[in-house]
Amino acid sequence: MSRKVLVLYAHPSQHRSEVNQPMFDAARDITGVTLVDLYQQYPTYQIDIEREQQRLLEHDVVVFQFPLYWYSTPSILKEWQDLVLEYGFAYGNEGTALQGKQFICAISAGGAEQAYKMEGYNHYPLEDLLRPIEQMAGITGMKYLPPLALFGARTAVEEGRMSQHIERWKTLLTLLQEGALDTQSCDDLIALLDQQAGEAK
């Protein structure tokens, strides 16, 4: 069963991007995926609520793609949530527009994975930091999937980790698009995607 995937991409400094922009560009090759560059469409933050809601209605899967900024999304993605996920549309008695859609975050984080541990300097694991987003998905009736995260993003290019990550990202989008991602029993998406890639070989 093929699904329509909506990637909402937020990166305010794309000319410096080493991870997210290549990912966004790589996603162009995949059919059934709509790519929205929020900073490109709303450089002055004047988000067109009507248009964004229409887009949500037309898609089955919602992906937030962004670099982690202060343990959360870049500001435009927060602005997008504040304005687009209106009462009566996304939540509340009649707000059922997003019910049953899948939701996932594709994140790059500057810190190493070890930093996002109780004993690391960030103290909280990524899934804890993303609780507000998880709860946003929950209250709007979307199915929240564990995030696809790239840790140590500032040095990923130098360490030659980008091509593998882009492959994961493309696999993820393809699986989402095909409706073939079984995450019921999975809490580590990366392990699942790498296993998938292993099988393909």
Partner: protein, 634 residues
Amino acid sequence: MTGYFIQAFIFLFAAVVMVPLAKRLGLGSVLGYLIAGVIIGPVTGLVGQETNTIQHFAEFGVVMMLFLVGLELQPAMLWQMRHKLLGLGGLQVGLTTLAVTGITLLLGQSWSIALAIGLIFSLSSTAIVLQTFNEKGLTKTEGGNSAFSVLLFQDIAVIPMLALMPLLALPELQSVGSAAADHHEEISLVAHLPGWATGLVVLGTIVGLVLAGHYLSRPLFRYVADSGLREAFIAAALMLVIGIAALMGLVGLSPALGTFLAGVVLSNSEFRHELEANIEPFKGLLLGLFFITVGAGVNFTVLGDNFTTIIALTLGLMLLKAAVLFVLALIFKVHAGDRWLFTLSLAQAGEFGFVLLTYAVSHSVLPTELAQLLSLVVALSMFLTPALFIVLEKVIFPRYEQQQQQRDMDDIDEQGSVIIAGIGRFGQIVNRLLVANGVPTVVLDHQAAQVDRLRSINIKSFYGDATRTDLLHSAGIEDAKLLVVAIDDKDRALALVKQVKHEFPHVGILARAYDRGHHYELKDAGADYVISETYPSALQLGGEALQRLGYHPFRAEQIKQRFSKLEKQHFESLFSSWLHEGEARDFSDHYRSLFLQLESKILTAMKQESEDTRSDEERGWTPPPKTYQDDFNR
């Protein structure tokens, strides 16, 4: 008087009919002119002996062309070309002269005649070649560049050749020659001076020309430009070129060389584009006239009598020149398609050949019959040149096309320039933003004082009326990506948009409108983006007023945004209504009702300030209803 009109009419009529036809057939304008000349000359006999006189006059087209060429060449660029100029040009003239002289000697002519012929045939046709390069856009290619160096060298070399000719005089031709020489006697300042004095006068003239061009031309053009009369500027441009040509003639230099030099001196001037635009049409017409006279001057009797000889000589000459050029192209590493362009484009004799032939006859160097024969060879080889260009275009270039495309990838840094028309309070800011970010811009303005002020703070700008297509041409509209229209005159802005959209649809047009009506007009004329000049700043001031009245800054900002969003939403309907109303537009009932509708919408949207009813216009940052918690408790 009437006689002149009839002649002029015949010439112009032939050009008007033949040139477009030749272009349509893909033959280029030069061949069109040549054929037109043949038709009105030897074929129908509409024009006759006077062609020679006209030809002298038309040679002035070549002079103007070199002035324009000079304008395109900054002194620094010329200096960069010096190796090609001397090496390529010098070797071409030297080797061709040597080869032609040798062959002529073998054919049994005396050495002085052989050398004269060698010199005459070593020259190529600047007029045909540059004109064709321009038409076909080959000027900036490697081959075009090399060919240009050679042509430039040749034009300079004509001067020593003219000096050398009299030394080759044959005693047995003296009696015939002196009669002709009297006929061609020209006014000269230096004729009766000793050699060293002549040298001093010539040197002084050149230095004076350069200094005057540098220091006097600007105040002069300013003075003329400030009058605001276009014809005064045209007169000034013509005066400059004619004056220099005359001056050069007086001291015995080539007028073409003099005007070329003047062009180079003025190439850094802010008046460059305007000068170019003004001289261009004269150059085109005169060159055309020149080509017609070449065609009209073909002597069919002589041609018929010596048909095989002339054809053989012409083909032999072109083959020989091509061979020399090809070898030079190899030595100087001119590549691929450009090598062929270089080889074939210069393989003809040129208009200076006619000049030298006449000169040689009058100085008893060549017998008249031989000169007549040779001038046919020159004319025929010029005739065949457009055909060679067709071979280049249809056969040779396609083969190299792929390589060409690969090579073009390297120098894309010239692309993406922006032309800004009007550099007043508005255009200036646009220009500063672009220039600060490394975007190359060309600025045009019709106020010389303004252009001057900008120049003094190092902003590259040119004086000129941007509504003239020819000026846009010389500002490089073909390669431009964007045109910013910021000129004050509403009608001229509109005319400019229409013109550019029509002739250069690839150029994006960003236009500044004076008011709502002008905005619609510009949009209708094809502008890609229009902004009403005072709208954003008025909006900003309105927002400031709200803040000072006590509105929270963020709220004031939102109100502004909502206001302009509503305006945008209603743009299309108001615009199409405006379009349909035609003449009565601003006062029509339909348009007025639409406008009132817009105003009332804005009014309601601005007034709406309710907490629980959520209107369409009042969405962003509206909190959920006060009772919304109940939904979750059910």
